[in-house]
């Protein structure tokens, strides 16, 4: 069971759609504890990605993901821009040269992506950032690989873990990003970056559910 180049392209297009549909919701979350731009930032970035996305001929999956990363870096700005860019660049480098990948490859790619985000943003789990969605998702993928779960099951577990991580950001007091300026007042609100990260992994689980 493997994810192909075509599936990757579909995932990115579907995620761009999810972001467009949730633009206001993400911005609303960011208005509570940030500066009301996360939805707009992500939407601007992924609309540019759709324009730049290679059609799949003469490129491999690594190249596709790196193109997404470079586009986000030059179109998004803010903290979300470099961080999301890093997710795609690191995952792309991890899967470089391949035309398809399996669950173990994806676990490694997302682990590299998460390490990149941590290197850049210096956030730890519990700081109320996207790291809180990424970290449990990586763990779930590794566990699923070890237990020999199917691709579909493993992806579903990782999306569920990301969702739990996202919900767990609600009571946290932010220690990184703009929300940290609010101190105690940041508690009681869900982190926008963790929310969009959950959407990214949830879209992967849905789009790649029936990959064969």
């Amino acid at each position: 069971m493997a994810v192909t180049k075509k599936d990757v392209l579909e995932w990115i297009k579907a995620f761009a759609q999810v972001i467009a549909e949730n633009k206001e919701y993400l911005t609303e979350l960011d208005a509570q504890i940030g500066d009301a731009d996360h939805g707009a930032n992500m939407d601007r970035g992924f609309r540019a990605v759709l324009e730049k996305l290679p059609n799949g001929e003469d490129v491999d999956i690594g190249k596709i993901m790196k193109t997404v990363g470079m586009t986000l870096l030059s179109k998004v700005g803010g903290a979300g821009g470099p961080l999301y860019s890093t997710i795609f660049m690191q995952a792309g480098m991890s899967i470089d040269g391949k035309d398809y990948f399996d669950l173990a490859d994806w676990a490694k790619a997302l682990e590299a992506a998460t390490a990149g985000v941590v290197r850049l943003g210096k956030a730890s789990p519990g700081d109320k950032t996207m790291v809180d969605a990424l970290t449990p998702a990586v763990q779930a993928l590794k566990d699923a690989t070890e237990q020999g779960l199917s691709l579909g099951e493993g992806l579903k577990k990782s999306a569920e873990a990301a969702e739990e991580g996202m919900i767990a950001t609600i009571p946290l007091v932010a220690r990184k990003g703009r929300a940290s300026y609010l101190g105690e007042r940041s508690a009681g609100h869900q982190d926008p970056g963790a929310t969009s990260t959950f959407m990214l992994l949830d879209t992967a689980a849905k789009v790649w559910a029936n990959c064969s």
Partner: protein, 333 residues
């Protein structure tokens, strides 16, 4: 919400077109990637100053490009830091061979994007130094958090460091001066109303008619505490005392006092705040030797004000008085 705009998507682009038409003697505007450079860039042999940040803080930074201040400014989307490609191209456009100083406000996004741009510029053989401004005493500093925000002191730094670069000081001297200024300046702000980000169309936070936010930043983010509105003198105390205590500023100090409007508060009210602040400082034996009063670092149409104090010395006074010719600040020319 009523706004004098056309399409929220085009706000920054149409602003840049306006700046280009209004100030051809001062600046050139480059599009895609977007940045503003002084008309005579690159100035050979002079250290170049590049800053940037989200739009919505006008006149900062674009209005501070010109003789005696910035060589380039990179505007991001409203309240969103610009991207590394803008910063890299601006850096290349203004490098006159003496190196480039990046003035970065301490926000996660700004710091990350400027770091990437500096690495790319260095890879192209340009000497780049970066200075991070973090003067907001409303934010509790700790190694675990993103640290303090860069606010009002940024304006003063851009003027003072710009004058030093114009004098022909080296990149190292200019960068050290910027760090010294960051070490001896502090700010705090408050809001009477929220602001409306164009693409959002409604206020970032709801603030009842009789309440105010103390300890706000410059991006419409809520502050640290919310309370009932108080008279100007009481609010001035709430802003100035934490600023004085943090450094601390002491009897005998000479300072520059900067009372800034967040965009919606008129000059008449800024002067009321200034008057109270000077009274308070005189009572403590702190002497105001220079001042700046007006909207210089704003948060769209937010009503509110911030106070910045910078400890001055002879060198800083000389640099402050040096000629400057930009759209947002102009004297001595």
């Amino acid at each position: 919400m009523k706004k004098l705009i056309n399409n929220p998507e085009n706000v920054v682009l149409e602003e840049l077109k306006g700046i280009e038409l209004a100030h051809p003697d001062l600046v050139k505007v480059h599009y895609d990637p977007d940045f503003i450079v002084r008309a005579d860039a690159p100035v050979k042999g002079k250290v170049a100053l590049v800053s940037g940040g989200g739009s919505g803080h006008e006149p900062m930074h674009g209005g501070f490009v010109g003789m005696g201040m910035l060589d380039a400014a990179c505007p991001g989307a409203v309240f969103t830091s610009p991207t590394p490609d803008q910063m890299l191209e601006a850096t290349k456009a203004v490098d006159g061979g003496a190196g480039v100083l990046h003035i970065v406000k301490n926000y996660t996004g700004d710091v990350m994007n400027f770091e990437m741009a500096a690495d790319l510029a260095k890879a192209e053989g340009i000497d780049v130094e970066a200075v991070v401004v973090d003067d907001d005493v409303a934010v509790k500093d700790s190694t675990w958090t993103a640290g303090r925000r860069g606010v009002g002191l940024t304006v003063l730094m851009e003027k003072l460091v710009g004058a030093a670069a114009e004098e022909g000081r080296s990149l190292k001297e200019v960068a050290d001066l910027a760090r010294k200024i960051n070490g001896q300046g502090r700010s705090m702000g408050m809001a009477l109303t929220s602001c409306v980000v164009p693409h959002v169309g409604k206020p970032t936070f709801d603030l009842p008619e009789d309440e105010m936010e103390i300890g706000i930043g410059i991006h419409g983010e809520p502050g640290r505490t919310r309370m009932k509105v108080e008279p100007a003198d009481a609010v001035t105390e709430m802003l100035l005392n934490p600023v004085i205590e943090d450094l601390p500023f002491e009897s005998g100090d000479e300072v520059l006092l900067f009372v800034n409007s967040m965009g919606g508060t008129p000059l008449i009210e800024l002067y009321i705040v200034y008057r109270k602040a000077v009274e308070m400082l005189e009572a403590k034996g702190i002497k105001v030797v220079r001042n700046l009063i007006g909207p210089y670092i704003t948060s769209l149409e937010m009503a509110g004000a911030s106070i910045t104090m910078l400890k001055m010395d002879d060198d800083l006074i000389k640099l402050w008085d040096a000629p400057v010719k930009t759209a947002g600040m102009r004297w001595g020319v």
